[in-house]
């Protein structure tokens, strides 16, 4: 490095880029392309080539297996329960945190982030320790013939836990940035709480919410660790799609394993596409609202 930060001219990034020698730029680009190729493009391509290795007929037949069908149905059911619940929790938490200053607010924020910090295996074990036969609530549940872990409720709980932060985390900064001026205005004009929520709050955050829902759904469908601990791996009953992929792979049924895995890969691609679209929309909305706010200030 010849230049020190102090004599670096305060210019736009584009200017600096032009100053870099051609070989530096070429190397950096090559490294990036190589990295993306090895870690993203190749594995993705390998999933689909492995899945289609014995032809499209075998590929499609993999989904007609009753166990595969049951796994897909269970995964859809779990995310159909977990995602809406997390939308409600996420909205409530984000609203409380963004709109109010209260004692314990930071604790709440940290708690929301907890599932990100905790390993998914631990998240699963928590429920085993709570609801297992020798857990805190196990004996009571057993007496009343209620099965939580090694059954659908446990899988839903574990999924809820690991996907909890996605919606709230997406909404908090958005709501903080937007401020509560519009809501206060509505209140002054005599709107009720629900009216404010449906007409102001929700429309304002709808794109951010959608973004959170997409991420939450992708994680709910793809979660492996936590679900693996509480599932019990009963075929056709408590196996989700990711667990089913593992089973097929362990049974040397590689084509079917990759075929089912390709479903998850497709889900990831769709998620990525939606996420990009929503991100673009959010950025444009924010720019617009910023511009209108700037325009309105005298």
């Amino acid at each position: 490095m010849k230049r020190t930060p102090t004599d670096m001219p305060p210019v736009a990034a584009t200017h600096v880029r032009e100053n870099d020698p051609r070989w530096v730029r070429a190397t950096l680009i090559a490294i990036t392309v190589l990295f993306l190729g090895i870690f993203l493009a190749l594995p993705l391509a390998s999933i689909f080539t492995e899945a289609l290795r014995k032809g499209i007929g075998v590929y499609l037949a993999s989904f007609r297996q009753p166990d595969a069908y049951a796994a897909i149905r269970l995964t859809l059911l779990v995310s159909a329960i977990a995602v809406p619940l997390n939308v409600v929790f996420g909205l409530a938490a984000a609203w409380a945190i963004a709109r109010f200053r209260f004692c314990g607010r930071n604790v709440l924020l940290t708690l929301i982030d907890l599932p990100f910090a905790v390993s998914p295996v631990i998240s699963g074990l928590i429920y085993v320790l709570l609801f297992g036969l020798h857990g805190w609530l196990g004996p009571w549940l057993n007496e009343h013939d209620l099965q939580v872990i090694f059954a659908v409720p446990g899988i839903v709980l574990a999924t809820l836990f690991v996907t909890f932060p996605f919606v709230a985390r997406e909404l908090i900064p958005l709501m903080e940035e937007q401020g509560s001026e519009e809501e206060l205005a509505a209140r002054v004009l005599g709107a009720s709480g629900w009216q404010i929520f449906w007409r102001i709050t929700l429309p304002n955050v709808r794109w951010g919410l959608l973004y959170g829902v997409i991420l939450c759904n992708a994680r709910a469908m793809g979660e492996f660790g936590a679900v693996s601990v509480v599932s019990g791996h009963i075929r056709g009953l408590t196996n989700t799609v990711p667990l089913h992929v593992e089973i097929l792979y362990n049974e040397y049924n590689f084509v079917a394993a990759f075929a089912v895995a390709s479903l998850l890969a497709l889900l990831a691609l769709v998620t990525l596409g939606l996420k990009t679209a929503v991100e673009w929309k959010v950025r444009r909305d924010r720019a617009e609202s910023a511009a209108s706010r700037e325009g309105s200030t005298p």
Partner: protein, 352 residues
């Protein structure tokens, strides 16, 4: 529209879960890793047999995983009507920690409750490039041995004990010396040698997977290692699935008679009202039809007639039992595999 199919799905699932609790014609068999193919075949045979004799339809659900892990899940409340695990010690753990079945479970069915047996053999790459013939080849420097973790895998514990027993057999010649007080010194020396041998062997293990299937995948798919220590049935399966042009089975001179037992989980079966069905399921494992299914899935049958029929299919080697060499599972578990046991002492220092 999406909503409607969702509700349908929900209703179907609710129905499915209720069925699993109330209907008597459903069994959950919690098993270990390599029995997937065996029980897939046996379950349909038993369902046919049950329908023919009682007119009742039966669905058998399967769960597979590392034997120790599966036992843990049953202890924690996985509703297994029957367990078919890799070793008696894991079922002992269920009996002891959760009292779901009596401690004397192993005496309830013939042959120590093991309707089929297996042993531990080697799988090597085609042509046996490293020239592996017997256990002593595994400790040569530079040899990479693939075996799962004895802490979590039943198969791995059998691997470990087979190697240990081999050294004792080499040193003592006659294993009855183990129970002869006059030969105590000779036995102690042999045990020291066995410990050194296992230390050298585990020094050659680059990775410990948690289950037998994981190790097989490491060896076969990822191409790691020169030799895989495996269940005999798993070794045959690898050769069947991947071709004799890629892998070979090597039978050592001496190995252990591995007895994977089966048991009724009394309290769960009684709660589900499936005791009669579950008992019939286990007893039918000893029938000629089931014994043939076991043999075709590379498990050694117990029934003499079937064993004779499939005699040529299995390699001939000297087998010793865990009872004669190690004095049963409870003792073995405590000495070798418990926390700070011999395995911990010999493996930790060489761990990279």
């Amino acid at each position: 529209m999406k909503n409607r199919s969702l509700t349908k799905g929900l209703a179907a699932l609710a129905a499915a879960t209720t069925v699993s609790i109330s209907s008597a014609a459903q069994l959950l068999n919690v098993s270990y890793d390599p029995t997937r193919e065996l029980y897939a075949a046996y379950n349909s045979a038993f369902a046919k047999h049950w329908l023919a004799t009682t007119g009742e339809k039966v669905t058998i659900l399967q769960s597979h995983g590392g034997s120790g892990k599966q036992a843990r899940a049953v202890i924690d409340g996985l509703g297994a009507d029957i367990v078919t695990l890799a070793l008696a010690g894991d079922i002992d753990a269920i009996a002891e920690k959760s009292q779901l079945l009596p401690k004397e479970w192993q005496a309830r069915l013939p042959n120590n409750s093991t309707p089929y047996t297996s042993t531990i053999v080697f799988v090597v790459r085609k042509g046996n490039p490293k020239g592996i013939k017997d256990w002593h080849d595994l400790t040569k420097p530079g040899m990479a041995v693939i075996t799962p973790n004895p802490k979590t895998s039943g198969g791995a514990r059998w691997n470990y004990l087979a190697a240990w027993g081999y050294v004792l057999k080499q040193e003592l010649g006659d294993l009855t010396k183990l129970h002869d007080a006059a030969k105590a010194e000779e036995v102690a020396q042999a045990q020291t040698k066995a410990r050194a041998f296992l230390t050298a062997l585990f020094h050659n293990v680059p990775v410990l997977d948690s289950g037998a299937r994981g190790s097989t995948t490491t060896f076969v798919q990822r191409g790691l290692g020169d030799v895989l220590l495996a269940w005999e049935n798993e070794a045959f399966l690898v050769i069947k699935e991947f071709g004799a042009d890629k892998f070979e089975l090597v039978a050592p001179s001496v190995s252990i008679l591995a007895e994977p037992p089966v048991a009724l989980v009394d309290k769960v079966a009684d709660k589900h009202g499936t005791r009669k069905l579950a008992e019939a399921y286990l007893q039918y494992l000893y029938s000629p039809e089931a014994q043939e299914i076991a043999a075709r899935n590379f498990y050694r049958p117990r029934l003499d007639a079937v064993a004779k029929k499939f005699e040529a299919a299995f390699p001939k080697l000297t087998l010793f039992t865990i009872d004669e060499v190690f004095g049963g599972w409870a003792k073995t578990q405590a000495t070798h595999f418990a926390d700070k046991g011999i395995f911990d002492q010999i493996y930790t220092p060489t761990a990279k």
